[in-house]
C-alpha cells in the first residue's frame, strides 16, 4: 500500500534537510565560483602557480566525489594526528563544504578557461593597440564576454552540484537524501519518503535552471 499519512509528521524534518542541502549547494556554488575564478585565471599561466593549480584541478576532476569526501573527512584527520600530533576533528558539514568548494571550483575553472579561449584574439589586440593594460582588458573586455558565453555550462555545474550534495550523506551530513534514509529506518517505508525527496530535488533544480535562463537573457547583447 502507498500511504503518505505516515510521512506527514516528518515534513518539518524533511524541510530542515532541504535547508541543509541548500546551504551546502550555496556554499559550494559561491565559494566554488570565487576559487574557480582564481583557478581559471591562474591555470592559464605558464609559471609555478599555473602548474600547481592545474595539478589541483586534475586531481579533483580525476577522482570520485565520494572518495574526496571520505578522504578529507576520515583520512586527513588521521594523517594530521600521525604527523603533527594534534587532533583535527572536522564536522561533517565542514568537510563537505571544503570538498564541494574545491570540487566545483575545479570544474568552474575549466569552464571559465574555455570561455576565455572562446573570445577572438582580435579584441585583445585591439585593446593592446589602444594602450589598455592587460588587467583592464581581461576584467572589462574578455571576462564579461567569456562568462556570458559559458553561462549555460555554469548553470549546469550548479545543478550538478546541488544534486551531488546528496553524496555528503555518506560522511553523515544530515541533508535531504540522508533524511529519506532515516525516515525509512523508522517507518519501514521506502517509496513515500524517496518520492518526496526526489520531487524536492527536481523543484530546486527547476528553479535554478529558470533563474539561469533569466540571467542569460539579461546578459544578452546580440
Amino acid at each position: 500500500m502507498i500511504d503518505f499519512t505516515k510521512i506527514y509528521e516528518y515534513i518539518p524534518f524533511i524541510i530542515q534537510g532541504v535547508l541543509i542541502t541548500i546551504q551546502l549547494a550555496l556554499v559550494g556554488a559561491v565559494g566554488g565560483s570565487i576559487l574557480g575564478f582564481i583557478f581559471g585565471l591562474t591555470s592559464r599561466k605558464k609559471n609555478i602557480f599555473g602548474y600547481i593549480v592545474r595539478g589541483i584541478i586534475d586531481f579533483f576532476r580525476g577522482t570520485p566525489l565520494v572518495f574526496q569526501l571520505a578522504f578529507f573527512h576520515y583520512g586527513i584527520p588521521q594523517m594530521v594526528k600521525a604527523f603533527l600530533g594534534v587532533s583535527f576533528v572536522p564536522t561533517a558539514m565542514f568537510s563537505a563544504s571544503v570538498i564541494f568548494i574545491i570540487n566545483s571550483s575545479a570544474y568552474l575553472a575549466e569552464i571559465l578557461r574555455a570561455g576565455i579561449e572562446s573570445i577572438d584574439k582580435g579584441q585583445i589586440e585591439a585593446a593592446k593597440a589602444l594602450g589598455v593594460k592587460s588587467s583592464d582588458y581581461m576584467l572589462h573586455i574578455i571576462i564579461p564576454q567569456a562568462v556570458r558565453n559559458v553561462l549555460p555550462a555554469i548553470v549546469n555545474e550548479f545543478i550538478t552540484l546541488t544534486k551531488e550534495t546528496s553524496i555528503a550523506s555518506i560522511i553523515g551530513v544530515s541533508e535531504l537524501m540522508r533524511r529519506a534514509t532515516i525516515i525509512t529506518g523508522t517507518t519501514f517505508r521506502y517509496f513515500e519518503p524517496l518520492l518526496i525527496v526526489g520531487i524536492t530535488y527536481y523543484i530546486m533544480n527547476k528553479i535554478l535552471s529558470n533563474v539561469g535562463k533569466a540571467v542569460e537573457k539579461r546578459l544578452k547583447y546580440d
Binding site: D120, G122, Q123, E125, A126, A127, K128, A129, L130, G131, V132, K133, D136, H140, I141, P144, Q145, R148, Y221, D222
Partner: protein, 240 residues
C-alpha cells in the same frame, strides 16, 4: 619619426621579414603593397609591438621599442591601429567602444569621453549609430567606428592593416573616403592594402614588398608608371 633598422622576423623556421630598413617621416602617407605572404602585415604589426621581431631595431621618436617592452603601453597611445577584422568589443555599443580606452588609458571623465566619441563618430559619418552594438552595424560602419576609436586617442601615427579586405566594394568606398580625409590631418599614415587605386591616389610613397624584403620604395607616379624592379613589374601585371 619611425626608423626601422635591420629588422628580422622568424616564425619557427620561416623567415617572414628579412633585413628591413626603412624610415617613416612624420605626416606622410605610406602604402605597403605586395602579394599575400610577403610580410606586409607582419612589418606593420611589428611597428606597434603586436609582433616581436627576432632581431633588429624599431626606433620611434628616439625610443627603441623592440628592447623596451615596458614602454609599449605608453607608446601605443601614440600609434593607432585599424584591423582587417575590425576587432570592435562585441559587448559594447559604438560609443562605449570608443570611450573605454579614453577612460581607462587617458583617464578622461565619462562626460568628456562621450563628447569626444560623438565628435569622432561624426567625423567618420557614424553619429547615427552611437548606441548600436557591433552586430547591428554593417561591415563599413564597423570599420568606420574602429577608425573613430583609433582617432579618439589622438595618435600621431595610424596603422591600417588591410582595412577594406573584409568589405564589399560599396562599403570599401565609404571606408576609403574616411581614410582619405585623414591624409591632410598631419598624422603619419601607414596602410597595408590591396587597393591599388587608393594607394596611387593618396600615398606619398609606395613600399613594395615581396618574400619578406622591401623591393622598391618610390612615389606612386614613378612606381606605377616607371616600375623599377622586375618583381614589382610582374606583381603589377598580375594585379591590373
Amino acid at each position: 619619426m619611425i626608423k626601422v633598422e635591420n629588422l628580422f622576423k622568424q616564425f619557427d623556421q620561416t623567415e617572414v621579414l628579412k633585413n628591413i630598413n626603412i624610415e617613416f617621416e612624420d605626416g606622410k602617407t605610406y602604402a605597403i603593397i605586395g602579394s599575400s605572404g610577403s610580410g606586409k602585415s607582419t612589418l606593420l604589426r611589428c611597428l606597434n609591438g603586436l609582433e616581436k621581431p627576432t632581431s633588429g631595431k624599431i626606433v620611434i621618436d628616439g625610443v627603441d621599442i623592440v628592447h623596451n617592452e615596458k614602454t609599449l603601453p605608453v607608446l601605443r597611445q601614440k600609434i593607432g591601429m585599424v584591423f582587417q577584422s575590425f576587432n570592435l568589443f562585441a559587448h559594447m555599443n559604438a560609443t562605449d567602444n570608443i570611450t573605454f580606452a579614453l577612460m581607462k588609458v587617458k583617464k578622461m571623465s565619462e562626460a568628456d569621453a562621450k563628447q569626444l566619441a560623438l565628435e569622432k563618430l561624426t567625423e567618420v559619418g557614424c553619429d547615427h549609430r552611437t548606441t548600436h552594438y557591433p552586430h547591428q552595424l554593417s561591415g563599413g560602419e564597423k570599420q568606420r567606428v574602429a577608425i573613430a576609436r583609433a582617432l579618439a586617442m589622438k595618435p600621431t601615427v595610424i596603422l591600417f592593416d588591410e582595412p577594406t579586405s573584409a568589405l564589399d566594394p560599396e562599403m570599401t568606398v565609404e571606408v576609403l573616403k574616411v581614410m582619405k580625409n585623414l591624409t591632410n590631418s598631419g598624422m603619419t599614415i601607414i596602410v597595408v592594402t590591396h587597393e591599388m587605386n587608393f594607394a596611387k591616389e593618396v600615398s606619398d610613397l609606395i613600399i613594395y614588398m615581396d618574400n619578406g624584403e622591401i623591393v622598391e620604395i618610390n612615389p606612386p607616379k614613378i612606381f606605377f608608371e616607371q616600375t623599377q624592379s622586375e618583381r614589382a613589374k610582374k606583381f603589377l601585371n598580375n594585379m591590373l
